[in-house]
């Protein structure tokens, strides 16, 4: 196929829309695609740091007792692993990176509603990340509280919690601004004639996510400010010696952090909803149900936070209500899973890397989600709370869900962003290794969790050794898969085969513009566009 980028309009890589050159034309750019790419690179960079910390955790747990580090170091390592992964990698990953790159194009817009605010939130993200890294090297040692910063421990510890929670505050602020920007963009910048019912499901999922970002993140902001007030001013709102109640901290923390898990997974679900119809060459099954279920998840997900607190000493009434509500959130997730699978029915399926990642998502997320039901059920959660069962649950949903969603998005939109294609066979191999490594790494953790292995344990009783060792070996396999995947993408970016506008045969708007898209996204009216999932007349253009 001929190369479409030879159209007269330069791509956004060449035309930054300003006179600035070099790095400045990136870090001061207000172009949503450039900002999105900068997010993507930062997220991936931090992902590698986080993942190496995960590898270090696994190495330490290879044998009982000391393997490679001291207890204090270990505690700092898993804290950072959690903080980096949650606040710096997963929460911004799909929305801030791919949301930024793709959402305005899906709407047929030239940019987001507030381009300068968008750049500002990227800068906040950078500052937050910088502060988080700074907390490692300043003060009295890296924080050792776990990513949840539970009081009173986080008030007692002399490590550098202040810097870390301030970093979280800034990161939260950045996330709020992104959400605010997206809501306004979706409301105000839809191309004339693009109705809500024609919105892509990715946009719908970002819309739901953005509302959580706007309404829940401020609670995180005030919560970490309160930790600072406790530590610096000694106010004592959570200190039992001064009449405070430490359990209230947990309420405030989870009021944000439970909805936050849906900030993490909804955009990934959006990505899956984009990928599956394209490779089944068939409209998505139950468009409305999927769109509505995103909103349902966002709303119902805000009502279940205390399921993290069943053993905290809160009232039995609260346990009853929050356990019941937790099960309610499972239903919209179930609706999505069944609709995705139904989309394959009577399709004309092309098994390509993005589809494999999407299927990997469904498989791993379902395992993670179904074990979430074990946690949501009060009686069983008492036994497995704060054990490796929980660790395994959330790695399945976060890494298996959001992580695979992110990898899927990377493989899906890669040709659009770079105008080149990676080696698909290598990508498939990497996927297979990732799947094997992933399950080998995390499945044994369910079992030792059920046997009673608590999480955040530096040392463990000998009966858990086998599970830990299998898991550590799995982490090495996973590492191999990741390295192959990244190297393959890197090579594709440098020297992959050039592609045209629509290498996969997608029907959403981004496939109507050149790869890579020009500065203002479109070189001509996408006049053959009939809806994000009507594939009639859509030609594949490799």
């Amino acid at each position: 196929m001929q190369n479409q980028t030879s159209s007269p309009i330069p791509s956004f890589f060449e035309d930054s829309g300003s006179d600035r050159k070099g790095i400045l034309s990136w870090i001061l750019s207000t172009d949503h695609k450039r900002i999105g790419l900068m997010y993507l690179y930062m997220v991936l960079g931090m992902f590698i740091i986080g993942v190496c910390l995960g590898l270090a955790i696994r190495l330490e747990l290879f044998t009982p007792g000391k393997t490679i580090m001291e207890a204090q170091t270990y505690n700092a390592v898993f804290t950072l692993h959690g903080v980096i992964m949650i606040f710096i990698v997963v929460i911004p990953s799909i929305p801030a990176a791919f949301g930024n790159i793709i959402l305005p194009i899906h709407l047929g817009a030239e940019d987001v509603a507030f381009p300068r605010l968008n750049l500002f939130s990227w800068w906040l993200y950078m500052i937050g990340t910088g502060l988080a890294l700074l907390s490692l090297f300043t003060g009295n040692g890296p924080p050792d509280t776990g990513w949840t910063f539970y009081v009173p421990f986080s008030e007692f510890t002399t490590t550098n919690v202040n810097t870390a929670v301030f970093a979280v505050f800034i990161l939260g602020f950045s996330s709020i601004l992104t959400g605010l920007n997206f809501i306004t963009t979706i409301h105000r910048l839809r191309a004339p004639g693009l109705k809500w019912k024609q919105l892509s499901l990715f946009s719908w999922s970002l819309y739901a996510t953005a509302w959580i970002q706007v309404l829940a993140t401020p609670i995180l902001g005030i919560t970490v400010l309160l930790i600072l007030a406790e530590r610096v001013l000694g106010v004592g709102l959570f200190d039992p010696n001064k009449g405070g109640d430490p359990i209230l901290y947990q309420h405030l923390f989870w009021i944000y952090s439970h909805p936050a898990v849906y900030i993490m997974v909804l955009p990934a679900m959006g990505v899956v909803s984009e990928i599956i119809p394209v490779f089944a060459r068939k409209p998505i099954f139950g468009y409305k149900a999927i769109a509505v279920s995103s909103i349902m998840i966002a709303f119902a997900g805000s009502l279940v936070w205390a399921h993290h607190m069943f053993t905290s000493g809160m009232s039995d009434t609260a346990v009853l209500i929050f356990s019941l509500l937790t099960f309610i959130v499972a239903i919209p997730s179930a609706i999505k899973v069944f609709n995705w699978i139904a989309t394959l029915y009577k399709g004309s399926i092309f098994i390509e890397p993005p589809l494999l990642y999407a299927l990997g998502f469904i498989f791993l997320f379902s395992i993670g989600g179904l074990t979430g039901l074990v946690l949501g059920s009060a009686g069983t959660d008492i036994h497995v709370h704060d054990t490796y069962f929980v660790v395994s649950h959330f790695h399945y949903v976060i890494f298996g869900g959001t992580g695979f969603g992110l990898f899927g998005a990377m493989h899906f939109w890669f040709p659009k962003i770079y105008g080149r294609m990676y080696n698909k066979n290598v990508a498939t191999t990497a996927w297979a290794i990732l799947m094997i490594g992933f399950n080998l790494l995390y499945f044994p953790l369910f079992i030792i969790g059920l046997q009673g292995m608590p999480r955040r344990y530096y040392d463990y009783l000998p009966e858990y050794t086998l599970g830990h060792q299998i898991s550590t070996v799995g982490s090495w396999i996973l590492a191999v898969g990741l390295i192959i995947m990244f190297v393959n993408l890197y090579n594709g970016m440098k020297s992959g085969k050039k592609v045209g506008r629509n290498p996969w045969g997608g029907a959403t708007l981004e496939w109507y513009t050149p790869s890579p898209p020009p500065l203002l996204n479109f070189d001509k009216e996408p006049d053959t566009f009939k809806g994000p999932y009507s594939f009639k007349g859509v030609e594949r253009d490799e």
Binding site: L248, I255, S302, T317
Partner: protein, 94 residues
């Protein structure tokens, strides 16, 4: 252009609203001097809510905005109410 249709608040309306707000403030203080027991908090909050409705509807123009924005404001306060209310499932029954 959209903002040609924009509603401009008259000085008179604004002054009336201010007068109402000041009056309600006075009532709030006055009522708090009477001991109504538990009711005091409720009355104070009811008055504060009334005042804030005036501020939101007139000063903040919500009365003249579209339905969607009204719905959003409602949702925002609803969510806050839910956060406070559901926390009481714990603390009230502990």
């Amino acid at each position: 252009m959209e903002h040609n249709k924009h509603h401009i608040m008259s000085v008179k309306t604004a002054t009336l609203v201010l007068a109402m707000l000041l009056f309600l403030t006075f009532v709030t203080v006055a009522v708090s001097r009477i001991d109504l027991g538990y009711l005091n908090v409720i009355v104070a909050l009811a008055l504060a809510t009334t005042k804030s409705l005036f501020v939101i509807l007139f000063f903040m123009h919500l009365k003249y905005e579209n339905k969607m924005l009204k719905l959003f404001v409602f949702i925002c306060f609803l969510i806050l109410a839910i956060f406070i209310g559901m926390t009481f499932f714990d603390v009230a029954y502990r």
